[in-house]
Amino acid sequence: MQTDIAGVKKIREKLRSRFRKWVGRRIPPSRTVTLDQRRIFIFPSRVGFFFGLSLLVMLVTGINYQNNMTFALTFLLATLFVVAVLHTYANLSGLKIHAVGVPPAFPGQQAEFELLLEKGRKRPYMALRTRWPDSTEVVTSLVDEDSARVKLHAPVGERGWHHPGRLLLESTYPLGLIRCWTWLDLDLYALVYPRPLASEVPGGEATDKPNGASVPVEGDDDFAGFRTYRPGDSLRQVHWKGLAKGQNLQSKQYTAYADRSAWLDWEMFPGVDTELRLSHLCYWALEFESRNEEYGLRLPGVYLEPGSGERHRDQVLKELALYGIRERVK
């Protein structure tokens, strides 16, 4: 008995994976898809079967009463069904789906996947239902506008590239009797940062940097030297004299009295498991960012100059997320 159930499960799994492979061949991954007959599946819906049953009852009524108008109505509805197949198919055919993008997210969060649905023909596209296996569902219609943006929220897994699965785009418009759908692999991956896990202060020091190098931090107090001009620096801070002397464009730097500067280093957590290390590093990166301190990143093979700001944070987190993962661009 046990082996039977196991056997059935095995067969099911086999069939499923075969099916997935077949779909994968038919509808390969692509960031932009135009629906055509290779990609569209069509089959009567459950309501469609119920409709068919009603037609059968009507047909039998017509036969038993020998009533020609009953036949006429039954046939009209049957042919309506056939015509509706064409209309339902046409409601999906030619539709273009573009993957716009997805901002990175943390594990357990809902990432916002954005799609663009675009008309392929001048006719309207109605009641298009889109969702990923675990995501929210959105119903869109393209009537007057040629395109529409769709935002779907799906939970993401652990760090790395998260693929939400195949997007299901379906519609039963206009009569609800036939279901027309497609599964798309939009080649859209969400970058998932490591789960931030708090740890003891790295290096055991409350506020100081783990290793000695101090990095100037933006501030207002003391003049602390020059640095290369960054776009956005106040022009009053520009070292014009230096420029006149033939040096590069430089800014004067002032420090607040801060000894905040940090290096997030791989070696900070000796003996700890990789994922855990990354999680701790992530936590501390967020910590430093929230305190407006500068921080750099040092991992095997990765060296990031200290800095702060949203862009810097994203870079750091991205490196942490993609540590050990070969594909760096998706």
Partner: protein, 673 residues
């Protein structure tokens, strides 16, 4: 509730509209309170929509269902029969409206709606009703479409368009199926109409019955002759033969009244010169069929009785078509059996004593049966008898009152009196009822026989001649036979006095009359080809069309005709104009983008040329100039509104083409961030 389960308001309104349109058809044949239930249901649902009431709870629903059952039972007297079943269906239809909350409820109610259309057809297949039902189908389908148009909060009449288009595309396909789908016999028996009134001449006759029938302007049947139409005075449509007079009413002989040996009719003599014709009868809920004497039917489902009547074993619930060959000169029963003679001479004693006495008196004055008949006719002719649609009531001895007191009567009075006198005088005679005359429709040369053409006359038996037709009405009002009822009572002005709106009263209004006749001709075609399309007709039609009939040809015709219709439909749906027309500038720009794509710079969907150029400049600062130039040029060409052939535009296109051709990516570049 998930979005897809909700019921758009637009759909709700269309559903209610469709429902009312459907129920309106049935109002004649269902109890009034069911219509009331529909009204209440609509009001309730509206209140729910307006937020004032809530959906009924389980107990309320149960109460409504049970009380509907009881209501129907009491209105009809039983739950068996077609009418109670339909009433139940309509009650369910109404109650479903109250609990219409989710999309799946809407599916149930709409499919029920299609079924309600079918129930209408079980009662009548009249052309106008069918067209109205088509409108109902459009409404139901529109509601179905509206159900799948998300977010419609208000009534949107445009939902009707997709539904109409789809139905219009389905109709040709349906026609092919209709003519090809094999007609097979009933699979099992079904509830029949038990509460519908009988129409036409009934199987017993009392004085006043025929004149009552003559108030109706309904069509009884239509006839199409193969050859020339006989003269009006020869059109005696024989349907019923009354041989028994008891309790003041004439009735036909039952099957068991006739002795076993004489049940089959003996074939008449002198069969020559047949007149062939086709009759289509309106449903009567009776079995009698009308024909010119002596009629031989051409099909198995028409039977003949021993007194040479035609009848259908199955009650006429729908239009009934039959072909007949009539031999007008045939001699029926030249020799009478004893039993027959006795039966056709029988008279109840004491019913009309004065009449019988007069008959005996008159018989003395002549020497042959024929002369006797003529003598009686002369009496009707010469004495002041009046032919009227409003004969006065008669007393206990009806014919005595009629002959000696009132002297005013309709055809049944004259026939009754004549036959009584014949029988009293020893001449076998019987009353015959049916229709006389009919209107010839110039549009298609059919004869339309209305209910007001109903008539009663007599058959008298003479030796060697058999049963001979004698019409006493002709002696009193020859106009009736030559011209019809309207002419005969024109002085009286009582023709169709109960139907002031009937178009038959306005035959002098030429356009109205022409319309009526055209519509009648259309009805003939409709009944002949569509409503009456049965397996025999199908066989003949398809054999004419296809030659030999075999399954392969069937399939071929079906698939071929469907392909002929579906392929253009498919093209119109799927071959629509593409949104982007590949213009010149698009081509060049695409090439430009393709070049950049090779270096991993994909233009993102929705990104404008300017934004894209800026992004690329970040990566390839050395190519900034070219990138900006090309993007700017493309932007001008694509979005500016210049004439297609202006010099400027062509020049710009040339420049764009050149720059894209010459565009080279610089060798060194910064790594993408």
């Amino acid at each position: 509730m998930k979005a897809e389960q909700q019921l758009p308001r637009n759909a709700l309104i269309w559903i209610i509209l469709a429902q009312f349109s459907l129920v309106a058809l049935h109002f004649e044949r269902i109890p009034l309170w069911i219509l009331l239930v529909h009204g209440v249901a609509a009001v309730w649902r509206f209140q729910v929509y307006a937020g004032r009431w809530s959906f009924p709870g389980r107990w309320v629903k149960a109460f409504l269902i049970i009380s509907s059952f009881f209501g129907i039972y009491f209105s009809f007297g039983s739950l068996i029969g077609l009418e109670p079943t339909v009433a139940l269906l309509l009650a369910a239809f109404a109650l479903k409206l109250i609990e219409l909350a989710k999309r799946k409820d809407a599916y149930v109610i709409l499919f029920l709606g299609y079924f309600v259309c079918v129930t209408e057809f079980l009662f009548t297949q009249d052309l106008l009703i069918v067209l109205y039902s088509l409108l109902n189908v459009v409404l139901i389908t529109t509601a179905l479409v509206a159900l799948h148009q998300p977010g419609e909060d208000r009534f949107n009449y445009r939902s009707i368009r997709p539904a109409s288009v789809m139905l219009a595309q389905s109709i040709p396909l349906m026609l092919v199926l209709f003519f090809i789908f094999p007609r097979i016999g009933p699979l099992w028996s079904v509830p029949i109409r038990s509460h519908t009134a009988k129409t036409g001449v009934s199987d017993f006759m009392r004085p006043g019955d025929i004149s009552h029938l003559s108030q109706s302007a309904e069509v009884a049947f239509r006839v199409q002759f193969d050859g020339e139409i006989p003269a009006r005075s020869d059109l005696y449509w024989r349907g019923l033969v009354f041989s028994k007079l008891e309790k003041g009413a004439w009735t036909s002989l039952d099957y068991f009244d006739v002795p076993a040996g004489q049940r089959k009719h003996s074939p008449p003599k002198n069969l020559s010169d047949p007149t062939s014709y086709t009759v289509i009868m309106e449903p009567t809920q009776q079995n009698w069929l009308y024909s010119l004497r002596y009629a031989m039917p051409a099909e198995a489902r028409v039977k003949r009785s021993s007194d040479y009547r035609l009848f259908s074993p199955a009650v006429l619930e729908d239009e009934f078509r039959y072909r007949v060959r009539s031999y007008t000169d045939a001699v029926l029963e030249p020799v009478l059996s004893d039993w027959r003679r006795r039966t056709e001479l029988a008279l109840p004693s004491g019913l009309n004593p004065q009449t019988e006495a007069l008959a005996l008196e008159l018989r003395e004055t002549v020497d042959s049966d024929r002369a006797f008949a003529n003598r009686v006719l002369r009496k009707f002719n010469q004495e002041p008898f009046v032919y009227t649609l409003r004969p006065p009531m008669l007393g206990e001895h009806p014919m005595d009152d009629f002959l000696f007191v009132t002297q005013r009567g309709f055809c049944e009075h004259y026939a009754y009196a004549f036959v009584v006198m014949m029988r009293a005088g020893g001449v076998p005679a019987r009353v015959v009822a049916g229709y006389q005359g009919g209107e010839t429709n110039p549009v298609n040369s059919t004869v339309i026989v209305h209910q007001f053409d109903a008539h009663a006359w007599a058959e008298v038996w003479f030796p060697e001649e058999g049963w001979v037709r004698v019409d006493p009405t002709a002696a009193v009002s020859p106009d009736r036979i030559e011209w019809g009822l309207e002419q005969a009572v024109s002085a009286e002005g009582t023709f169709l006095s109960g139907s002031p709106l009937s178009p038959l009263r306005y035959r002098s209004v030429l356009w109205l009359n022409a319309l009526r006749l055209r519509y009648d001709a259309l009805t003939w075609q409709w009944q002949s080809w569509i409503v009456g399309y049965d397996s025999q007709q199908q066989y003949d039609f398809l054999e004419n069309l296809l030659g030999e009939i075999n399954p392969r040809k069937f399939a071929l015709v079906l698939l071929g005709s469907w392909a002929l219709i579906l392929i253009p439909v498919g093209f119109s749906l799927l071959g629509g104009n593409r949104v982007q027309v590949r213009s010149e500038e698009d081509k060049h720009y695409r090439r430009f983008c393709a070049l950049l794509a090779k270096h991993n710079l994909q233009r993102k969907p929705g990104e404008s040329p300017g934004e894209f150029a800026a992004r690329c400049t970040d990566v390839l600062p050395a190519a900034a100039g070219d990138l900006a130039y090309i993007s700017d040029l493309y932007g001008q060409l694509a979005y500016a509104n210049e004439g297609t052939n202006s010099e400027e535009r062509l020049e710009k296109l040339r420049q764009l083409k050149r720059s894209v051709r010459r565009f080279r990516l610089p060798a060194q570049r910064k790594n993408p961030a």
